[in-house]
């Protein structure tokens, strides 16, 4: 069983929603980005998504665009991301998913990337602008090395394409709660539950829901119908706000413990 599959099975058995975090590799710089990944793992994040900075992040809102700019300015890249993951992997229990735009992967070459990713201990890969139709060969290349391919599904995705993603994807499926770019919101989108139910009709794979989640009550709400919630922009904002402050790592850890509180709370509630 892959590390991702095992993690989702354990989360389910604990009767709580999983927490998936997103950070950009190299934000605010490579050493601290590594320390942040370790802190996320310590604080109880179940899956760590690590974003590869790209010069033209057209699916991202301003918060992750700025993180990307900081990371590129700090010398981050796809190669640096994989090196970083290789370094922290032995100290981290959670599965690690690389989140990238297609071009850096294609530039490295899909075979070379799959080799490097497997060597670094990457558990899954999500290529944001490589739709299912383009991803068949990529998925096989990764699967041959035991790396999961994660697909995004959106409210505009047809049932036929959900079915294809369910057949090709592994590890988990990532539902986008709303139309638009990444970014924190006050509320979880109203169509999110319907999307998760539509996906559930096609697959037994775990479903993580992202876009617009920033608070423990969002995690709890999403946990009522999805297997996990993804927190990205809100966490990246915590990193941005901390800036060069010495308590950066502590603030990140506190924020994730706060998010996890909802999950723990629900467990206690369930047992009460």
């Amino acid at each position: 069983m892959s590390r991702l599959a095992g993690t989702f099975r354990r989360v389910k058995s604990e009767g709580r929603p999983g927490l998936v975090t997103y950070t950009t590799a190299g934000d605010p710089d490579l050493p601290r980005s590594g320390a942040i990944l370790e802190a996320l793992d310590r604080a109880g994040a179940d899956v760590l998504e690590v974003g590869v900075p790209f010069s033209d992040p057209l699916a991202d809102g301003p918060v992750i665009q700025r993180a990307t700019e900081r990371a590129l300015a700090a010398g981050s890249s796809l190669r640096a991301t994989l090196t970083l993951i290789g370094q922290v992997r032995p100290r981290i229990a959670a599965p690690i998913v690389v989140f990238s735009y297609a071009n850096p992967l294609l530039r490295m070459g899909l075979d070379a990337f799959a080799d490097e990713a497997a060597r670094a201990g990457v558990d899954g890969v999500l290529a944001l602008d490589l739709p299912i139709e383009e991803a068949g060969g990529f998925r096989d290349t990764l699967a041959a090395r035991g790396v999961d391919t994660i697909f995004l599904l959106s409210p505009t995705t047809t049932d036929a394409r959900i079915q294809k993603a369910a057949e090709l994807g592994s590890g988990f499926l990532y539902g986008i709660s709303r139309l638009g770019v990444t970014g924190a919101r006050d509320r979880v989108a109203s169509g999110a539950e319907a999307l998760v139910r539509r996906i559930r009709a096609h697959t037994a794979l775990p479903i993580a829901l992202g876009f617009g989640i920033s608070r423990p009550e969002h995690v709890a709400e999403v946990g009522a119908y999805a297997d996990a919630a993804v927190v990205g922009s809100a966490l990246v904002s915590v990193i941005a706000d901390a800036g060069s402050s010495p308590d950066l790592i502590e603030r990140v850890e506190q924020y994730v413990r706060w998010l996890r509180g909802a999950a723990e709370g629900r467990t206690q509630h369930a047992h009460a």
């Binding site: 033209d56 057209l58 665009q65 071009n103 139309l179």
Partner: protein, 399 residues
């Protein structure tokens, strides 16, 4: 004869549909809607009526004898897209897509613009059809094309300033796509060149192919034959695809695209994708792009905002791979010189984009000699560039 890409939108190994998941279905919906109107005589009749009575088509083919005499060689003919309503070929595509958007029931239009010509064309088409228009434009381009910004606002469009990245066309496209992905239910993305995910490269080429159809017939009437070569500037490459299209099967006619050589072919100082680029994926399509070893997009430079872009239309990459089209580049200084020469010798101010084609055609005319005849697509007029040219000339005088 139709030359369609394959069902996944590929011209050979270039093209395709590299978009975030949310845009997959909207792009497929667009493809269905476009394939519907493509075979609909009523749609063609409405578009042709506008092209004739509103845009002023057909545009003339004019023989530039004084320019040719100075170049000292081949005859040079200009396809006068600068004489269209709004002053550039962009209006052909903007009207076609705006009609399509209206038919799809999408009343809100987003568009990107570099030099501002596509933005002006989109704002014009939206005013004509009563559609809401939002144009994204890089901050640097807004500064160097201030006249066009004001024109768009006069036409009722909202112009949004983009401060990200290189603050030029590429960043404007990113921002337009972010708007589209957020408002996709009621919004139509009116892309201005033969770029982006399928079906845009095909659709934009077909809306522009009126240029080549007219020019081929006009050239035959004027000379009794076909040109030795067609010369057109290539940013995304829509004016070039528009004029090349009618001549693809005429194997003896050379097709030459001219890219922006900028200051020099070194990283960050030019926009000649075929001179300094390699295959990659940018903004929805696989094509030739300027990128570094990590797959990040390199900064570009050109004196002309409309050519200042890191990717080229996928069909151009394919025509080049097939050996059917050739690509050359012309520097800022050569384009500036051609701008002035066409003004003084022919009384025509070309757009700085089109001045690249004029510069290359003059060079080629000397090489080929008097037995040859060149057809140049004069894709736009240069009023918008007068201030940039004034500044560039002042700089040149100082140095």
């Amino acid at each position: 004869m139709r030359r369609d890409p394959d069902v996944r939108g590929y011209f050979g190994e270039f093209g395709g549909r590299y978009v975030p998941e949310t845009l997959v279905e909207p792009v497929e919906e667009l493809e269905r809607a476009y394939f519907d109107v493509r075979d609909d005589p009523a749609f063609a009749a409405e578009l042709n009526r506008l092209l004739k009575h509103y845009v002023g088509r057909p545009t003339p083919v004019y023989e530039a004898t004084r320019l040719a005499a100075e170049a000292g060689g081949a005859r040079i003919f200009l396809k006068r897209e600068d004489l269209t309503h709004t002053g550039a070929h962009k209006i052909n595509n903007a009207l076609g897509q705006a009609l399509l958007a209206a038919r799809m029931g999408k009343r809100r239009i987003v568009a990107e613009t570099g030099a501002g010509q596509h933005g002006v064309a989109s704002a014009t088409a939206c005013a004509l059809l009563g559609l809401e228009c939002h144009v994204y434009m890089g901050a640097e381009d807004m500064d160097r094309q201030a006249l066009n910004v004001f024109r768009m606002r006069l036409l009722g469009a909202d112009v949004h300033r983009v401060d990200a990245g290189s603050r030029t066309l590429k960043d404007a496209i990113n921002e337009a796509m972010r708007d589209w992905v957020t408002n996709v239910v009621d919004t139509y993305y009116l892309l201005g060149s033969v770029l982006g995910p399928h079906p845009y490269p095909l659709m934009v080429r077909e809306f522009q192919s009126v240029i080549g159809r007219e020019a081929r017939a006009q050239f035959r009437e004027l000379t009794g034959g076909l040109p030795t070569a067609i010369v057109a500037c290539v940013g995304g490459g829509s004016n070039a695809m528009g004029i090349f299209d009618a001549f693809i099967e005429d194997r003896d006619v050379r097709l030459i695209g001219v890219e922006a050589g900028g200051e020099q072919i070194i990283r960050g100082r030019h926009a000649a994708r075929f001179a300094g680029g390699s295959a990659g994926v940018l903004q929805g399509t696989r094509t030739f792009i300027l990128q570094d070893d990590d797959g990040n997009i390199e900064l570009t430079h050109s004196i002309s905002a409309g050519l200042d872009y890191a990717a080229v239309g996928p069909e151009h990459a394919w025509l080049r791979a097939l050996g059917r089209a050739e690509y050359a580049h012309v520097s800022d200084a050569e384009a500036l010189d051609a701008f002035q020469r066409l003004a003084r010798l022919e009384g025509i101010l070309p757009a700085l984009e089109s001045a690249h084609a004029i510069a290359y055609a003059s060079r080629l005319a000397r090489e080929l000699g008097p037995s040859a005849a060149l057809l140049v697509n004069l894709s736009g007029r240069g009023d918008k560039d007068v201030q940039s040219v004034e500044k560039a000339l002042a700089q040149k005088d100082r140095s």
